[in-house]
Symmetry: C2
Subunit: 347 residues, 2 copies
DNA sequence: CTGAAAGCGCTTACAG
DNA sequence: CTGAAAGCGCTTACAG
């Protein structure tokens, strides 16, 4: 045969068909294992396809099947151990299931988050996974996703009023356990470095803290609540300093996040305040660093991997159901957390 | 008018055209600002498109234009501060330029890496950005990318023999500076916790270390070289212990990575060895944690953000050139690094 | 200024 | 078992 393919042009079904003197239809069916193709023809097609390194043009496949085989993921920040491990789990599992993942980072900006939702919808991703930015108040962008019939699963930072599947931890309970751990170890005046006022997350952790204080007959003292706007290391450091210089009687801190807790630890180390003898500190997330800082940080383990996996599993199920035109029933899955005792709290 | 669109069906150009009684061609041109459309028609189309929330079907656009507007990114590990910040920069900048990013993680497995290359090529991404896994020896998968005419830019962990653009730091020089910093502060017996034997990165850092030792007339001692297979915290910890128990005369360590350095710091802290008085430690990367650990870790700043931005910039340029059928000239960009002096080394 | 037509590369219902 | 035809939803060269 003297048919030569320009090696730059990708091989198409048409090439294969004409090379073999058969129709595009048959070539397509042969490669897709349709039963109504003779073994001989099938073999010829498969062999030639392999020889020419044929791969179906995904643009054409997408257009025909109306599926992108892409999942969109929007998170507030990648450079954050918890989210890194969530992404990780999602990407890995998606790949196994034949999906690729487009990741976008809202940077805690609700405007950007909205644009990113539009980008993903325009791209016609098969489903969207989101952890909301702290400032999200207007929920219409989320409703837009749902109206577009694109399956949506929220995880970690969710909105209770949006009607979709969710994967979360019980922040209130987890914060309760963390505070209880401090109380059980003998602490009586426990400060809380909380997160911003809006996100459900930080509200729940605050409420869990408060509940524990009250249940165990300690006095809730509003002046021991410090509100981190950005939830940074720096804020942890500064509030620790502020607390110290205020001369308030405090023997423990429950911080919204390990990062904030580590900021506090750094300050107290510098100020020569002994942890946990003079002040106990417990964080939240079980970031890798928590085990490495000195003293090592007691914290609440937040299962990032598990959360990513679970969220993706739910999403894929909904994608499948949607494709079949089935009604989706939304689930909210609550993953368990553990308090991890290290050296920043007393035994 | 009584034409009603099923609200579930996405709006197409055809819908708009028939609603307005014009052709699809004209509707398309109107939205794409072709000059040969009357202002009146244009306005009608644009208004209706807006009213109906029309967005072009990207599958169709992709198929027509043969562009996916997606960039593929393969890195060894996401949960790693340096790569997180690279991803970050890439995603942000890509978004601004109208591209979305599919991220894949090779997990240091060359087999997986190959599969992922195929996935991205099958997806017909417009370009690929890669940082190679440590085990990459067979370069044919990379050549496959190049043969497919998909622009490829390697960053950080590259292969010198592959003919494509690259963004790197001068690892040898950076390691030289780090070692020199130890020497200048009075250290004479400097151990090196190096990376695996294969990756160029770890070879170069080793060579930079060795060069500095020799230039400054210290004796290079092979027994002071410890090779991390996985470049983990644990290895840093264990080698520090091994080194300590060996009773070798050593007053400094240059570690391939902050993570390894922090492992070492943790061991020495536990063993009550004073840093930097008894042993100085310098790391590599300037991971966030380096500034927070105690003592804070001197290190080499590796500009992740800059690297991500630069790599993407090069890639987009090549994508544009390829589209125009222009010849690409490959560049290798070397980004500057700095030694950051903190408290784990003497002044 | 407008539109008919071709075509991107597939998939699949249908006819034979 | 095979293939002609329609169609997914766009874009664009071309004719008028």
């Amino acid at each position: 045969m003297f048919i030569i393919f320009d090696y730059m042009e990708p091989v198409t079904l048409k090439n294969i068909a004409s090379e073999l003197g058969i129709s595009v239809t048959t070539a397509s069916k042969a490669l897709k294992n349709y039963p109504d193709v003779s073994p001989k023809t099938r073999k010829a097609v498969v062999d030639l396809a392999k020889k020419l390194n044929y791969t179906p043009n995904s643009f054409a496949v997408n257009l025909r099947t109306k599926e992108s085989k892409i999942i969109g993921l929007i998170i507030p920040e990648i450079v954050h151990h918890f989210f890194s491990s969530v992404i990780n789990a999602i990407i890995k599992k998606a790949e196994k299931k034949g999906y690729l993942v487009i990741t976008l980072q809202s940077n805690e900006s609700d405007k950007l988050e909205e644009k990113q939702i539009d980008l993903l919808l325009d791209k016609r991703v098969d489903g969207i996974l989101m952890s909301l930015s702290n400032n999200r108040k207007d929920l219409s962008p989320l409703k837009k996703i749902i109206e577009s019939e694109t399956p949506l699963v929220l995880f970690d930072k969710i909105s209770k009023v949006i009607n979709c599947s969710k994967v979360i931890i019980d922040d209130r309970k987890a914060a309760y356990s963390a505070t209880k751990h401090l109380i059980n170890s003998g602490c009586k005046n426990i400060a809380h470095f909380r997160g911003p006022l809006n996100p459900q997350n930080s509200i729940d952790r605050f409420l869990g803290y408060k509940k524990a204080i009250e249940d165990y007959k300690l006095t809730f003292d509003k002046s021991l609540i410090y509100t981190c706007e950005k939830v940074t290391y720096k804020e942890g450091y500064n509030f620790a300093k502020q607390l110290h210089l205020s001369n308030k009687k405090v023997d423990a801190i429950f911080a919204i996040t390990d990062l904030v807790a580590i900021g506090a630890i750094t300050y107290f180390n510098e100020a020569n305040i002994k942890i946990p003898e003079q002040i106990s500190i417990i964080g939240f997330s079980n970031w890798f660093m928590a085990s490495v800082i000195s003293p090592s940080l007691s914290t609440v383990d937040q299962p990032g991997n598990e959360m990513g996996k679970t969220a993706l599993k739910l999403l894929l199920k909904e994608i499948k159901a949607t494709k079949k035109g089935k009604k989706i029933e939304y689930k909210t899955i609550v993953l368990p957390t553990d308090v991890i005792c290290r050296n920043s709290t007393k035994k």
